[in-house]
């Protein structure tokens, strides 16, 4: 039997790292992390911890045979702190013991003395002091300085978004098993098997071929395991190398929350200028990204914020500046959207402010300025096959944007205790890694002599459905049934030098590679079929429905017979392929190029109700139209849209990760950090795909789907704000030019009651 993942999931038979049967004598690791945000390590003594029965070894930076460094972009992140600690939660030492409880109990007997140094937590303060990861970057279009003079209205304001915890249900974890000849096999819950392999080799001081990384699946990643799975895997590998025993580390939820980074908090200053007819003429924005204490992926995240600074709109004169600010918080990291959501939130805030000043409907300004095919982005690329307006108009046609706004206004004029709010959120999201070199993938296809097929790629299944998509592509290309195709684990010894499964591009890149590999095998098989059928020209042959067809006519030669015969005839039944996305380029000197293969478009209409007395909001309805190209798997894509939306709604209305005055995470357990539950879900959700959508830039005319839907959630912020304003109008309140997300109940109350809100520091 070859069941799909869903079958295994509902039977509880899917294997995650913590479910792997461990070898005899496996040690369990526990990590001592820094209790303060910045300081110099004066003393680190593990003698007392070693006296615990069952404790085998305590690892510190001094034990590292290779380089104490795991920074993926900049070399600024030690595996274990050496002389200084730079954030609360930074790993300092590792206890290896017979059981996880013993290991954790021994942590408190490691003596760690740190002389505190003054930390910095604010991005703006870090920027003011020049603590930037890399020099500021600016994307520019037109002449923004000159354009202000032409504007009939200029609005200025500030906006900020908070950190968001990934809350993948499966916490970070790894199991490293030492093997002969100084090698190690690592089972890791990582989106980046090659990244783990590279950093493990670096820390162990061995060549990459001495480290094999295997990933079956992840219990959720969302970007949180793109880079930040590495440290745990490398700790296990280090322990395995030094003890000769397998080492396992699965973080507890609180450990995970405290030690790992989250979505970057951003602050921004914006200025938007409009012509009298509502056209956007000029936009200037400065993004202060709180990067945390190490670069991690922050510079790439910031770059994507700049790429998405103008959202779904054409603005002829733009200056978008981004600063990656180094602070003493845990390194913030990839999270679905990867900086795009923060960039888009700022322009939506600016539009909101402009609409308020004009007294015009927000959605009228948005629709007036939507991108069209040929519209030039600040980074020089022109929009191709742009469906921004088509999606917007489809939502309007099906669900009536003006009607919804009018209905809310009628309700609000006759009700004081509840107010309705409406907002529209168009999304335009660029697909491809913005680091062009990462847009490559490999696939390895084996056809076994009984006709069954094993497929390996660089893609990691983490719930996004890449497994079913790859199997569908392979089945369609080979002309055989889905059941014939088994997707193997992602393993660095089978497909090497892979990019992380990220940037929504997993199916695009690995799907294209799968198609190429399957075509190769197919060609080899059809040549054998031609010989078998005594046909000169193999080009007449195809395979459909597990049968060889000659000029489309079914022959007597079935798939299994063909494979058997081909094998006996000594035909190569395997193929390895490599795919690189064509036509990509980006010049960081000029900040211009064609960094994206294409863009994903869509529009969501969000309707909410505010309880004015209690200061709480509920999501009544979300109606969206999404350009998904030709879906590779409809249920998967719908699931990605619904799930991404939920995370976006959570980011905007519910989830709040904040740090106290000493840099400690306030919401440091599952009980304190709130992700959407089943009753938070929108009361009504309408998801539709743009009809007749197409995409010449990706495999089988599909479109990437992972990240873009998250940004529909931004609409909820402005819908709630719309309702709050309706309540404030009753109370005679004015317009604010500050936009702080998330709009959790406490922040809604601060707006309603006009009282200061002091619980949140970040």
């Amino acid at each position: 039997m070859n069941h799909g993942d869903l079958f295994l999931h509902v039977r509880g038979e899917s294997t995650y790292v913590d479910d792997i049967t461990v070898p005899q004598g496996t040690l369990h690791a526990a990590v001592l992390h820094a209790p303060i945000a910045r300081g110099t390590i004066e003393r680190l003594d593990s003698a007392r911890a070693l006296q615990h029965a069952g404790v085998v070894r305590v690892l510190t930076a001094a034990d590292i045979p290779g380089e104490n460094q795991i920074g993926p972009i900049l070399p600024d992140e030690p595996l274990l702190a050496e002389r200084e600690v730079l954030h609360v939660g930074q790993p300092v030492a590792v206890v290896l013991a017979d059981c996880p409880r013993t290991a954790r109990q021994a942590l408190k007997d490691i003596e760690l003395r740190i002389t505190p140094l003054p930390p910095i937590f604010s991005a703006r303060e870090a920027a003011a002091r020049g603590h930037l990861l890399v020099p500021a970057r600016t994307f520019a279009l037109g002449d923004v300085d000159a354009a202000w003079a032409d504007c009939a209205l200029i609005v200025e304001g500030r906006a900020a978004t908070a950190a968001q915890e990934h809350f993948y249900l499966e916490t970070q974890g790894a199991l490293a098993i030492p093997a002969e000849n100084g090698t190690v096999v690592i089972h890791s819950s990582t989106q980046s098997p090659t990244g783990v392999q590279r950093q493990a080799a670096r820390v162990l001081g061995v060549p990459m071929h001495a480290v094999a990384v295997d990933v079956r699946r992840l219990g959720g990643g969302f970007g949180g395991k793109e880079d930040q799975a590495t440290v745990w895997a490398v700790i296990c590998a280090l322990g395995a190398q030094l003890t000769g025993r397998a080492v396992k580390l699965v973080l507890g939820r609180a450990e995970d929350m405290v030690m790992t980074g989250k979505r970057h908090p951003y602050e921004a200053d914006f200025r938007l200028g409009l012509a009298a007819d509502g056209r956007f003429l000029a936009y200037e924005v400065t993004l202060y990204q709180n990067a945390g204490s190490a670069a991690d992926l922050s510079t790439a995240v910031l770059e994507r914020s700049l790429f998405h600074a103008t959202g779904s709109y054409f603005i002829p004169n733009v200056r978008a500046t981004g600063l990656s600010c180094r602070t003493n918080l845990p390194p913030f990291t990839a999270f679905r959207g990867f900086g795009g959501p923060q960039g888009m939130f700022m322009i939506e805030a600016a539009i909101d402010l402009a609409a308020c000043r004009l007294g015009a409907p927000r959605h009228a300004l948005q629709r007036r300025n939507l991108l069209e095919t040929g519209s030039v982005f600040p980074y020089g690329m022109a929009a191709e096959n742009c469906s921004a307006a088509a999606c917007w108009d489809a939502v309007d046609r099906e669900h009536g944007i003006d009607t919804a706004a009018r209905a809310a206004a009628v309700h609000n004029s006759t009700n004081r205790a509840t107010k309705r709010g409406v907002a529209v959120m168009p999304v335009c999201f660029g697909i491809s890694f913005t680091n062009t070199s990462m847009n490559q993938a490999g696939a390895l296809v084996h056809v076994y002599s009984d006709g069954s097929v094993g497929l390996s790629t660089g893609a990691v299944e983490m719930g996004q459905g890449v497994a079913i998509k790859l199997r569908r592509i392979a089945a369609a290309t080979l002309g055989i049934g889905l059941d014939c195709i088994r997707l193997e684990s992602t393993n660095t010894t089978r497909v090497a030098n892979t990019s992380p499964t990220a940037a929504s591009a997993g199916a695009d890149l690995n799907g294209a590679a799968t198609q190429l590999a399957c075509r190769q095998v197919l060609a080899q098989l059809l040549a054998a079929a031609a010989a078998q059928l005594n046909i000169d020209n193999a080009e007449r042959l195809t395979i459909a429905g597990e049968r060889v067809c000659d000029n489309g006519e079914r022959t007597q030669l079935g798939w299994n017979e063909l494979v058997r015969a081909a094998h006996l005839a000594r035909t190569n039944l395997s193929a390895h392929s490599h795919y690189a996305t064509p036509r990509l380029s980006f010049d960081r000197a000029t900040e211009k190029g064609r960094p994206f293969a294409y863009h994903v478009y869509g529009t969501a209409l969000v309707e909410v109700t505010l309880d004015v007395l209690r200061g709480t909001a509920a999501i009544d309805r979300v109606s969206l139209v999404h350009d998904g190209g030709r879906s590779l798997d409809l249920k998967t894509d719908i699931g990605q849209i619904e799930g991404g939306l939920a995370q976006g709604l959570g980011w905007m209305l519910l989830e709040e990760a904040t740090y106290d005055a000493k840099g400690r995470l306030l919401q440091d357990t599952a009980g304190k950090y709130k992700v959407p539950d089943i009753k938070f879900a929108p009361a009504e959700l309408n998801v539709d795909f743009l009809p007749d959508a197409d995409n010449p830039e990706a495999v089988l005319a599909s479109k990437a789907v992972g990240e873009p839907p998250l940004m529909y959630g931004i609409g909820a912020y402005f819908a709630v704000l719309d309702a709050v304003r309706a309540a404030l109008r009753d109370a005679g309140g004015g317009i604010q030019n500050r936009y702080d997300a998330p709009l959790v109940p406490a922040r809604i109350m601060a707006l309603l009651a006009g009282s200061p809100r002091s619980s949140t520091r970040s």
Partner: protein, 506 residues
């Protein structure tokens, strides 16, 4: 092997060994290799570790006492990360592995797959188990009950829309086929919702534990620590994570969840007596209580989640002395008192030892301090039946509407005359003081006044003078003060909509 530690694990009899202790979740995964049950948070907040716990139905036990097959089992979905092994003997523990059909999928699993609901898959074993709990426990297999059954199962991938579609499919196809005259388990087995062995589990359990004296307390072992009084453990095990490993090893345990007499709700004289061991979920469904306090079901719905409410007890929510307990606040408003018995009394089968009653308003002395002596057990809560004539309102504001601890919660009870004169009033607030607070000055001001907007506005000034919230992760002091003001308004609007209008207050 003593049968005293015998229980059913899925379709097999299982004995706890002398060294077996700790959490059921760890034991399942590490000792039994049953890794379908997942650990997502270890504190009852995510539901990935949900299992079913079946036990002879105490309400039906007496009438079945002489039947060889024993009483039918009643199953509840619970968190195995907050359940220690000592709770298992005499019960039926069901994991996802025990629900899987030998081949293929059961209808719950099939509906979830058809809806495309699982993504990363990690939470789905728990979701399947919780939905099975819904099928076993819901009277009418309504959509409302199905959604409620999942109120403690966090899914980070799906956004729940696909799960809700699966629920619609399941309820649509099975609710109409429900036959109230048939025994539920037999019917579910016929549908394939539960495996066949469920039909004989009660008999199986009854036979294998026939010799065990499960109702009698276990004799205290010669421990080095004071006895642990353990009820649901849903808060205790979070406060003291090492406790599950010490239970019955270092510390003798009095397992209150096994005391049938603590799990009863009955009238006595002019009071409703709620056993301290009554779970929040049972309280929520108790018709007598809900008739007496119509605001209760909605209030208790806001308490944690189904899988927690299935274990958490009324007494537990009082003796944990949280200043923000939902039940504590509700009961304060209801003028409840608590019955305290010495723990020694509980060790005897008769449990007729000395007892005393303390008014709940005198029970909370200070932060985490109670008017309770060491060794005492809170055996019951007593509510005067007179509150049935009063108007009761419960309010809770939390960051997440459900499955969250309140920033501020509050309950109010007003006895009003025809003309709106307040003859008696209780106002209880959580999250604004070191204890669940009875706003005595505000109550004094209101008593005898006519309930109208002027009285409410005057009273709120007094209220704000007698609360002292602090900044914490649930909100700033300013925010909580604003909430206290507004939930007080909300009470007034609810209990006297004919006298107080929104416009008069805000």
């Amino acid at each position: 092997m003593s049968t005293e530690r015998r229980f059913l694990l899925n379709d097999r009899v299982c004995d706890l060994l002398s060294g077996d202790r700790g959490l059921v979740l760890d034991w399942l995964r590490r000792r039994r290799g049953l890794v379908g049950t997942k650990e997502g948070c270890g504190e009852g907040e995510c539901g990935a570790c949900t299992v079913l716990l079946g036990e002879p139905d105490s309400s039906a036990a007496d009438q079945h006492a002489h039947e060889p097959d024993g009483a039918p089992l009643r199953y509840r979905a619970v968190c195995s990360c907050l359940l220690d092994l000592g709770e298992l003997p005499g019960r039926h523990l069901v994991t996802i592995e025990g629900l899987n059909p030998p081949v293929g999928l059961n209808p719950i699993q099939q509906a979830l797959v058809d809806a495309g609901a699982p993504q990363c898959g990690f939470c789905f074993p728990g979701i399947v188990v919780s939905l099975t709990g819904f099928f076993l426990g819901s009277a009418d297999l309504s959509r409302r009950d199905a959604v409620a059954a999942l109120d403690g199962n966090i899914c980070r991938c799906s956004g729940y829309a696909s799960i809700l579609r699966a629920i619609d499919e399941l309820c649509g196809s099975f609710a109409p086929r429900l036959d109230a005259s048939q025994e539920r388990v037999a019917q579910l087995a016929a549908w394939g919702i539960v495996p066949e062995y469920f039909a004989t589990s009660a008999a199986h359990l009854s036979r294998c534990s026939a010799d065990a004296q499960l109702e009698a307390p276990r004799p205290a072992r010669s421990g080095t620590e004071a006895p642990v009084l353990l009820a649901g453990g849903t808060d205790l095990f979070i406060q003291q994570p090492e406790l599950p490993h010490r239970c019955e090893h270092h510390a003798p345990v009095v397992r209150l969840s096994r005391r049938r007499e603590l799990a009863a709700i009955h009238r006595s004289g002019d009071r409703l007596i709620i056993g301290g061991g009554v779970t929040i979920e049972d309280l929520k469904h108790d018709q007598t209580f809900c008739d007496l306090v119509p605001a209760a079901p909605e209030a208790l719905d806001r308490f944690a989640s189904t899988i927690i409410r299935n274990r958490a007890t009324v007494a537990g929510n009082l003796v944990n002395a949280s200043p923000i307990g939902d039940v504590a606040v509700l009961l304060l408003a209801l003028d409840a008192d608590v019955v305290l018995k010495s723990g020694a009394a509980l060790d005897g089968a008769g449990s007729s030892g000395p007892e005393r009653a303390v008014a709940l308003r005198d029970f909370f002395l200070g932060y985490k301090q109670l008017a309770m002596q060491p060794g005492e057990v809170l055996t019951a809560v007593r509510i005067p039946l007179g509150v049935g004539n009063d108007r009761v309102s419960f309010e809770k504001i939390s960051q997440r509407r459900f499955l969250d601890i309140a920033s501020v919660n509050s309950a109010a009870r007003f006895a009003l005359q025809q003309d709106g004169t307040i003859t008696s009033v209780n106002l209880a607030f959580g999250g604004v003081a070191p204890v669940p607070l009875l706003a005595r000055k505000t109550m004094a001001l209101l008593a005898g006044r006519r309930l109208d907007a002027a009285a409410v506005r005057e009273a709120v000034g007094v209220l704000l003078g007698e609360i002292a919230p602090i900044d914490d992760v649930r909100g700033s002091a300013d925010y909580k003060r604003e909430l206290a003001r507004r939930v007080f308004f909300a009470h007034a609007l609810r209990v006297a909509p004919e006298r107080v209008r929104f416009e008069d207050l805000l």
